[in-house]
């Protein structure tokens, strides 16, 4: 059953990719409304916002809306989003960095994918953005929902970068301080050459040590168990999340 569902999904993805790719061959669109949910002006405005955010941050922001006819079940919409990101040739920079939101109207579910530098948003930074999107989508409509998504995703990306910068500064200061302390102490130690001798190894002649007994006995063991990080639905490179609205 699971295998059949996956095969169906792959078929849908390929079909969808072949239908979208020729259109996006020149410059991949950042906002793809396959469901006709947005007006042309709304789609154009979101497209413009997405592009300006991408240029400002160096990370792409993408939205795709699938209509009722293109069903993607919630259990597999994450994998669908992952595959569509590659199929559309999205991403900025050498790492193809980007944040992609896939919305399926048929089952009112969504999934997002984080790629390249945007993977630093994994681990809790995107959940509030997704919650805001879902709430705004429900209460204020599709355009406001997507607009909220774009703005907050961009803000979260910039904040994460700033956070990295803070960590980097802290690490730099601490490491530099330690190096300075160690270096200064080493230089001070060079001024002191008088110390009590603790051992007398230098006075053991060659063959002056005879081992008479050796014993190595196992006593006990201690165990530390660390849960292994789980890869999402088998996709090793996947970073992102999903939900319903």
């Amino acid at each position: 059953m699971e295998r059949t569902r996956h095969a169906f999904l792959v078929f849908l993805l390929l079909l969808f990719s072949f239908s979208v790719l020729p259109l996006a061959a020149a410059v991949p669109a950042a906002v793809v409304d396959d469901a006709g949910l947005l007006t042309s002006s709304e789609a154009a405005q979101l497209e413009e916002d997405a592009r300006s955010f991408a240029e400002a941050t160096g990370c792409g922001f993408y939205i795709m809306i699938l209509g009722d006819g293109s069903s993607a079940r919630s259990v597999s919409i994450s994998r669908a989003a992952d595959a569509l990101y590659d199929a559309n040739g999205w991403g900025w920079g050498g790492e193809d960095s980007g944040v992609f939101l896939l919305v399926s109207l048929s089952d009112r579910s969504y999934a997002y994918v984080l790629r390249g530098d945007a993977e630093k948003l994994a681990g809790g930074r995107m959940e509030p953005v997704a919650d805001s999107f879902a709430a705004s989508f429900r209460e204020s409509g599709a355009y406001e929902g997507f607009r909220t998504w774009l703005v907050q995703a961009k803000d979260a990306y910039e904040a994460a970068g700033k956070g990295d910068g803070d960590v980097a500064n802290f690490v730099t200061l601490v490491a530099a301080f330690l190096i300075a302390v160690i270096g200064t102490m080493a230089a001070r130690r060079r001024l002191h050459s008088v110390a009590y001798a603790k051992q007398a190894d230098a006075y053991i002649p060659e063959k002056g040590c005879t081992i008479t007994d050796r014993e190595d006995r196992y006593v006990r063991s201690t165990f530390i168990r660390i849960p292994r990080p789980k890869s999402s639905q088998g996709g090793g490179r996947y970073a992102g999340g999903s939900g319903r609205f």
Binding site: D117, A180, A200, A202, D216, R217, F223, R228
Partner: protein, 371 residues
């Protein structure tokens, strides 16, 4: 009591002789003659014997129990606990501490030896003659100042040597045999996957090593006035240069006699030997991630204890009203002595290191893509 004192004079011109470390001979700076230690010892054998006989008689008479009190009575409080003798060359009266066995007359400069200090049980078994001269000690001190970036610049340029002296320092040399039984806690670690978990297992082992270790000539200075830390820091000496004791090596140097018993020094030597046993047996343990000593037991037998005089150059410098003591191994040239640190240079080094390393780390992080 001039007969208690021996001074080696040139048999040819009667000028004072001096031990020359380079040629390992006693030389006369006046007529240029030179003699081996054996030649001089033979030449002065009668004089040495008379001096030692006189000292022995005085010791039997009880004067040796507190030699200075009787001898230096006329000098008042200054002479308390000191020895007095007359210089055989110029007749001047000289006061020396009771532990001094050889010195130099402050009036005529002639080297003076008090054989009574090295007679009977006080006679050392062996001696390492000076191999390095005074000028080499001065040179070594200047070298000692180099490469110390925190040393005040003015110290090396303005601190002048106030006093420099070659001293034969009394040492006990211990030949010990040690039966050691050492315990260690060792660990091995492995990581494996078990179900949904990654498991890190640490296996603990009780490791025991027993062994017999032989130590040859572990030194401990037998002079109270010499700082043990300085003496330890001057090690090691090359024991192959030990020769039977003779006062013929003394001219030109000061020599002290022992005032610490071998039993007193023995405890510290045994502790050093036991610490060595723990680390030497530790090297036999392999195949573990960590090894930690948890206990040891050692039975030590002192097979032989020798009393030796070892050559040390002492140098005293003064800087900003404070005296700094340096010592050099008179055989190997190893120089030791603590130096002052410049506060300004210390702050400068710290600041420089901080900023340079901060810049380097930041650059590295940027190259790694962390902004």
């Amino acid at each position: 009591m001039p007969e208690r004192v021996t001074n080696y004079q040139c048999p040819n011109c009667t000028a004072p002789l001096r031990w020359d470390p380079k040629s390992a001979r006693l030389v006369c700076d006046w007529c240029g003659s030179s003699f081996t230690a054996g030649e001089v010892k033979d030449f002065y054998a009668a004089k040495d014997a008379a001096a030692e006989k006189k000292a022995e008689e005085e010791r039997k008479a009880g004067a040796q129990e507190n030699p200075g009190k009787e001898d230096a009575r006329d000098w008042g409080a200054e002479g308390e606990g000191m020895q007095r003798f007359s210089c055989p060359s110029c007749g001047a009266e000289i006061l020396v501490p009771p532990t001094t066995g050889a010195t130099r007359c402050p009036y005529c400069g002639n080297p003076q030896i008090v054989p009574g200090q090295f007679a009977g049980t006080l006679k050392p078994d062996c001696i390492i003659p000076f191999k390095l001269e005074k000028k080499e000690a001065v040179k070594a001190l200047k070298k000692h100042f180099k490469g110390k970036i925190l040393l005040p610049k003015a110290f090396s340029s303005t601190a002048h040597i106030e006093e420099i002296q070659g001293v034969y320092v009394p040492f006990w040399l211990y030949d010990d045999t040690l039966d050691a039984d050492c315990l260690y806690e060792a660990t091995r670690m492995r990581t494996y996957i078990s179900g949904e978990d990654q498991v890190k297992e640490t296996r603990y082992y009780a490791v025991r090593r027993k062994g017999t270790l032989v130590f040859e000539g572990v030194p401990a200075d037998a002079s109270r006035k010499m700082d043990d830390a300085y003496m330890d820091s001057l090690e090691p000496y090359d024991w192959s240069a030990l020769v039977p004791f003779s006062t013929a090596y003394f001219p030109g140097y000061v020599a002290d006699i022992r005032d610490v018993s071998s039993d007193e020094c023995g405890q510290r030597v045994h502790e050093r030997c036991e610490a060595s046993a723990v680390s030497v047996l530790r090297r036999d343990i392999g195949g573990y991630m960590t090894v930690r000593a948890t206990g040891s037991r050692a039975d030590i037998r002192s097979e032989k204890i020798r009393y030796a005089l070892l050559p040390v150059w002492t140098l005293v410098t003064e800087w900003k009203g404070k005296k700094y003591l340096f010592m050099m191994n008179g055989q190997t040239g190893k120089m030791v002595g603590n130096l002052p640190a410049s506060t300004g240079r210390t702050l400068g080094l710290f600041t420089g290191l901080f900023f340079i390393s901060a810049a380097a780390i930041r650059l590295l992080l940027m190259l790694m893509g962390v902004q």
